[in-house]
Symmetry: none
Subunit: 193 residues, 4 copies
DNA sequence: CATGAATGAGCATTCATTCAT
DNA sequence: AATGAATGAATGCTCATTCAT
């Protein structure tokens, strides 16, 4: 499995670092290679092309979110509390890795339409888990039976995303995690109709 | 006033059309000029550079949203109804101009960070109007007095934006405007807490 | 005679001024037109093209040098004294019109090969007068009978030109005219063999 | 040391050839690359930009002049003979490489003011060596003790330069080297006062 | 596995000149 | 005579990818 090889990980981390520092359009393959301590050509032993590096960045990092949501789902808690934990975790991960926040909220969005479709596929797993959480709430009677899951998911994700982007654009100068309770309350009210 | 000259408008419209058809990175100035029926050099009599065209696209089109929200604000209606009209209008404008929807939701987001900061400034007017609407609802007692306006605005805009992007990414194959009542209900519940 | 019309002169003077201030490559026709207070198109009523303006600049200004040398030649003086007057005048004209010095010594030399050939033709009149002066000196016995006039002329003009260019390149910070006696002495010795 | 790599030399030689054939303004980077037998991009592995190629042309070729003058200075000869050898060498190098003569006397002079300042810095070494030669002549009593070295140097270089430019402009149709004795005699007389 | 020198396609912008008014 | 809006040709440089070693 190539993604377990040390150079694979080195290159992905170098990409996050270089993109966060220099911006998407200034993140040349040669810069990433240098940061990773490998030759330019070596990149192509691990990745098909530059786009493939960026998709991998997203996959690797999104996995962290998804894995935690999976854990949350298996806990013995009301759906509402699970939603809270999910929001808090989302904010916490990005708050703790500010380079990653810059990359996911700002830089990666200026990639090509094609890349963004690929990124969306990666996002889908996360969104599917969110759907599962919402369904759980409906089944348990916490959320209304007629809740439109797709719309609710778009509200939850849209709000989280907009909140995070806003925080990044304001130079991350306030505490994102502190917003979790209020965001949770807002979304919960939305859901409960 | 150069933005009233017919060529100015022609070029802006050509830009929307070319970007929607070819994507942001394939929207060369020469293509836009050809579509607008002017010489390449003529573009530079009306715009400082390529980025300036794109900012103008956004400004011109966003003005349509903002102007309508201004109208709405002056109507004699409960804040909740005004919010509904705003959502419906937002969906309607993008539903009726699908090229514009592609450009604002997908293509313009892959522009440089600098351009996106400029675009955000244009967005601010829209968001400020939204803030005014929310405040109105608080003052009238429709929305809770302790509503965090910034968060609420991020929820409203984030939900609308995510819903629209999702619709565009699904090839605009369902009716976006029909979603308005449900989105409105969701958001209203969120607000009311 | 078009060159007597006021706009003709205005444009030539504007060209000297704009080239001296902005440099040859930054002296666009539109800038010259603006400085001259006419429309861009008007330039083309008086000049065939941009190159024609520059040639005219040279012609108009070189005429001043040539006219004075003609006067000198008609004076009743030894050739050696005439040479002195010529050098002094050359230095004086450029010392008094520093913009002109910048234009002739630096800026106009970065014009195309073709333009420089045309400029050289204008120079030829000046050089022919210099030849006449040298011949006078030979005929009068002041200069050796076997003086190679072409070489001598190249020495005289080359020295004057190099001295002036050197002065311009040193930001005209010393007095060029004061060099005349020493330059004259040097050249005279050279001639006398 | 990149300037010893074969491609570096190939590109410099190609530049001289292309500029001589096509003129400065028609010497596109792609033409130079083709003549050198490398890809356009390869140029930029060896040179910072186009201007850097031109400066390098001058540096490489001027080094030949300077190196020979250094050799001359170390010979056991009167200053007058050294001056003769210097003039003869200058003429000989340009006589034998006519493309180089065209490039240095005509084409490179139409480069930007900035480039010409850079070129002048390269020239300075040559002129400094010439100053050393003149000083030697003064010390040995061959030249007058009150010789103004700066002026004398401007006379020597101005004359050589004007003679060469004149020869190039006349399509190099006579023998430049044959002029050496006469130019030497003229300059020597000038110096001796 | 790893290297890194070499490749070459692709594009925004300027500005001399024209010509309808 | 004078205007100035419109034209459109022309080019230096970057950087993702390859491949001989």
């Amino acid at each position: 499995m190539k993604r377990e090889k040390p150079k694979y990980k080195k290159i992905v981390d170098a990409a996050v670092s270089i993109i966060a520092q220099n911006g998407y359009h200034q993140a040349q393959v040669s810069k990433i290679a240098k940061e990773a301590g490998v030759a330019d050509g070596t990149i192509y032993l691990y990745f098909k092309n530059k786009e493939d590096i960026l998709i991998s960045v997203f996959q690797e990092k999104m996995a962290v979110f998804a894995d935690y949501v999976k854990e949350i789902l298996e806990m013995d808690l009301p759906a509402s509390d699970k939603l809270y934990k999910m929001i808090e975790n989302h904010f916490k991960v990005l708050h703790d890795d500010r380079n990653l926040a810059i990359v996911t909220q700002l830089e990666l969005r200026q990639s090509s339409k094609e890349l963004r479709f690929r990124i969306n596929e990666v996002l889908k797993e996360y969104l599917t888990l969110l759907d599962a959480l919402l369904r759980e709430g409906i089944d348990s009677g916490e959320f209304p039976a007629d809740l439109d899951i797709r719309l609710a998911r778009q509200m939850v994700f849209g709000t989280i995303d907009e909140t995070t982007t806003s925080w990044v654009m304001n130079d991350q100068k306030y505490d994102l995690v502190e917003l979790a309770p209020r965001v949770h309350k807002l979304l919960l009210s939305g859901m409960k109709g």
